[in-house]
Structure formats: structure tokens, C-alpha cells
């Protein structure tokens, strides 16, 4: 499968690390019964230092060309780490293309995006909004050296990168940024909502929510696609054709995975 441009770079970056460990053995995942730890690439073991660094980077607009967009600009916590609009424009106002997906439990998501099922890890995916050009989001294509310069100029970042990547003397580049972001995103976990607790035998949902749940799993048919503990089957489904978004066909060149494979999704609430 040919992956053009930055998507190819992202794949190459993680090509040596596609072997996934079942989990980082030294990392303590605090998960409810029945939830297994997510896969973690062998070359990006979970450490507190990488999570802390990734947390800071996630909220840093210096990852965008003009300092106006951070990951958190689109992945807003109050919107379950998604967005409140149909599509978010890029750093210079470039038109957005697709709805921002929620990052809740993204560590378990596969595929990670609707556009390219070839992006197998969060490390690969994190690079796309930073340097991608279809669509342009953070606008850093060709500016990887500038990204390194900005972060290296900050003494706090130099310390954080040294703690996170001690074997590599605090390497600061797009790759280590992506690894730290991935580590942080693996801890954006939600398995303790009112719905989760009700399913586990805890307090029942309020009446209105219970009626919604009945519809969701019944006549409304939502659960046909929105199934499983993360309310998604992670499959591409055929909806009405869209004139704007070619969906996964852009990456796979397979006509069957065509435009309009997702319906508009706004804030995702858990």
C-alpha cells in the first residue's frame, strides 16, 4: 500500500517498531476488570517521564507553524477530547476536512483514523496533523528543524526530553515528540462514566439516560456501528456520498472504501 507524502514518513518512522509489545511490563495500568492493557510499541515503553513530556507537548501551540494551534485546540477535554465543530480549520485558516475524533480510549482504537487505516500506532498518527498537507492542520511540513529549534530553545523542554529519552541524550525531534505525545494519549482513558458504572452493576442510569440507552441499542440502531466498550466497531461504513471527503480511498486507493464513510460526529460524550 503506497502512502504518499507525510503519511509515508510516518510509516517509515515506526517501521522498525511495528512489533508491538502486549504492554509495557513496568507500567502499572489501572484498568477495570475485563479491560486488557493496550498495545504499546516495543521502542516506546510507557514511562512517567514520557507521559509528562507528552502532556506538555499536547497543549503547546508551538507545534504549529504560527503558534496558534496545539493538539488540544482541536482535541478539547471538555468535548471528550474531540471538537465542537464539524471540521476545524488549519493554522492559517485552511479548510478543515473531517470531524475531529475523540481521543478517549484511543490507545485501544484500530484503525486510528478514518482516512488511512495504514496508520497502525499513535506514534505514526501523531505526526500527521503536525506536518500533514492534506489537509493542512498545524502546518509544519518541511519545518521539522524549526520544531526542534523551538523546543530546544526552552530549558524546561531540554530537561523533560532528557528525562524522557535518557538513552538518546534527550533527543528533540519530530520522532521523539510523536513518541511522547503517543505516551500521553495512551493515558486518555475513560472507563468510569455513569454508563460504565451502571454496566458494572453500580448505580443505575437516570431515567432519561436509560431511555436513551434503550433506543441506542434498540430501534434507533446506533449500536449497529457504535458497539463495544468504546461505542465503536472501528469499521468503515457506507453512508451517503460526500463531495468533499474521499475518506479512506485517499490512502488505500480502493474504491470500496469511499467517501462519506463516516457520518458527521460532533461532541462525543461519555
Amino acid at each position: 500500500m503506497r502512502l504518499p507524502g507525510v503519511l509515508g514518513a510516518a510509516t517509515a518512522l515506526a517501521a522498525s517498531a511495528i512489533t508491538l509489545a502486549a504492554a509495557s511490563p513496568q507500567w502499572a495500568w489501572h484498568l477495570p476488570a475485563g479491560i486488557s492493557p493496550p498495545p504499546v510499541p516495543a521502542d516506546n515503553a510507557m514511562t512517567k517521564a514520557r507521559v509528562v513530556l507528552g502532556h506538555r507537548l499536547f497543549y503547546d501551540a508551538d507545534l504549529s507553524i504560527n503558534g496558534t494551534l496545539s493538539c488540544a485546540t482541536c482535541h478539547e477535554q471538555r468535548h471528550s477530547f474531540s471538537d465542537g465543530v464539524q471540521a476545524h480549520p488549519g493554522a492559517h485558516g485552511e479548510p478543515g476536512l473531517r470531524n475531529v475524533p475523540s481521543l478517549l480510549n484511543v490507545a485501544w482504537a484500530t484503525p486510528l483514523t478514518w482516512a488511512n487505516p495504514g496508520l497502525a500506532t499513535l506514534e505514526q498518527q501523531a505526526i500527521v496533523p503536525i506536518v500533514g498537507d492534506d489537509p493542512v492542520e498545524m502546518g509544519m511540513k518541511g519545518q521539522e528543524a524549526e520544531l526542534s529549534r523551538r523546543l530546544s530553545a526552552n530549558s524546561c523542554y531540554r530537561k523533560l526530553f532528557k528525562r524522557a529519552f535518557p538513552e538518546e541524550h534527550g533527543r528533540i525531534n519530530l520522532g521523539s515528540v510523536a513518541q511522547a505525545l503517543a505516551a500521553f494519549q495512551r493515558l486518555i482513558i475513560s472507563f468510569d462514566s455513569a454508563w460504565d458504572r451502571a454496566r458494572a452493576g453500580g448505580p443505575p442510569l437516570v431515567e432519561e439516560a436509560r431511555r436513551g440507552e434503550t433506543l441506542f441499542y434498540g430501534t434507533a440502531g446506533c449500536a449497529f456501528c457504535h458497539s463495544g466498550p468504546n461505542l465503536s466497531d472501528y469499521h468503515l461504513h457506507q453512508f451517503a456520498a460526500s463531495n468533499k471527503d474521499r475518506g479512506a480511498i485517499s490512502a488505500t486507493h480502493r474504491p470500496r472504501t469511499t467517501a462519506g464513510s463516516v457520518h458527521p460526529r460532533y461532541a462525543t460524550w461519555r
Binding site: 501551540a61 503558534g67 496558534t68 465543530v85 476545524h88 480549520p89
Partner: protein
């Protein structure tokens, strides 16, 4: 008592939505004037936007705010400060990166009521009253096919206020503060 906010519906049908201040960033998505064949109509309340503008430089700290006093109803072309140099009165929700620009201005409110901050960019804005960042009561795009990109409304008490600009991609922008009818 908080007066009822008057929502103005412009000829361009750019209606304002009563949403929390954190949704300011969400309005970026639909304001694309690149395909406009002719300039759009500016409502009377914002007529000064297209008139002669003053110039002003934002200050980098609250203590210097008197040097950046805006006159209500007058449009300005302002110069901002590099974000690392700015000490905000209240930390913005979207502060911008080190390569972005921001700054502080002051304006005085004589009559309590609803006020609007129109801007030429989608930078993050805060109005500080009594040391607190106010929650906006409405926000929206500017009229179609104009240089007015964003508008944020606040209900204000009388007295001096601080206008904070953050996360602007360029060192300059245009802005003003107007009282809503």
C-alpha cells in the same frame, strides 16, 4: 442585575450563538471570504470598522495598561507583543505558542450593558473585569465578505476593563470595542 443580551442578526445572516467562552475557537471553521466577488455589507453598529482607524501597540503587562487605552466605538490597527514577553492579567485558556503574538489593552465602560469585540483574526480574547476573565455571552463570525473575522460579546459593568489578545499568528490585527444597541 444582568441585562438581557440583544443578539443582532446581520444582513449576511451570520447569527451569534450563546455558547461558553471556550467555544470561541470553534468559529474558525466557516468564515472563508476567499471566494467573495464583492465586499459584504457591514451593519451600522460596526460601521467604524471600515472607517479611519487608529493605531496602537499592545502592552505586555497589566501595570502598563494605561498606555493602551482604547476608545469605545473606534477601530484600531494594533501591534501585538511576542507571546513570551506578555504577562497576562489572567492566564488565557489558549495562550498560543512562543512564535505567536498577544497583548493587553484597556477600555472604560461608562454604561453597563452588552459590548462586542470584533477582530480581524481568530485570536483568543478575554475581557477582564474585577480581576476575573468574563465568560462571553455570545460569539460568531463577522459579516460575510468583510475583513471582520470574529466577534465576541460580553455583558460588562461600568469601570475599566482589560482586553487580552492571545494566540495571534501575526504581529498585527484590527480590533475595536463597541457597545451593542
Amino acid at each position: 442585575m444582568i441585562r438581557t443580551v440583544v443578539t443582532i442578526f446581520f444582513a449576511s445572516a451570520a447569527s451569534l450563538a450563546a455558547l461558553p467562552a471556550v467555544a470561541q475557537d470553534a468559529m474558525r471553521h466557516a468564515h472563508d471570504s476567499s471566494s467573495c466577488a464583492s465586499p459584504g455589507a457591514m451593519p451600522p453598529a460596526l460601521a467604524a470598522w471600515e472607517g479611519t482607524r487608529g493605531s496602537m501597540t499592545a502592552v505586555a503587562k497589566p501595570g502598563a495598561i494605561r498606555s493602551a487605552l482604547l476608545v469605545l466605538g473606534k477601530a484600531y490597527d494594533v501591534t501585538l507583543q511576542p507571546t513570551p514577553a506578555v504577562k497576562y492579567a489572567v492566564a488565557p485558556l489558549k495562550p498560543g505558542g512562543s512564535v505567536s503574538f498577544g497583548g493587553l489593552f484597556a477600555f472604560d465602560v461608562a454604561e453597563p450593558g452588552a459590548y462586542r469585540v470584533p477582530l480581524s483574526t481568530h485570536s483568543w480574547t478575554d475581557v477582564i473585569e474585577d480581576g476575573q476573565a468574563l465568560q462571553s455571552v455570545a460569539h460568531g463570525h463577522g459579516p460575510e465578505c468583510t475583513s471582520l473575522a470574529k466577534m465576541v460579546d460580553y455583558v460588562l459593568k461600568s469601570g475599566r476593563h482589560i482586553l487580552q489578545i492571545a494566540a495571534n499568528g501575526d504581529p498585527t490585527l484590527s480590533l475595536m470595542v463597541v457597545k451593542l444597541p
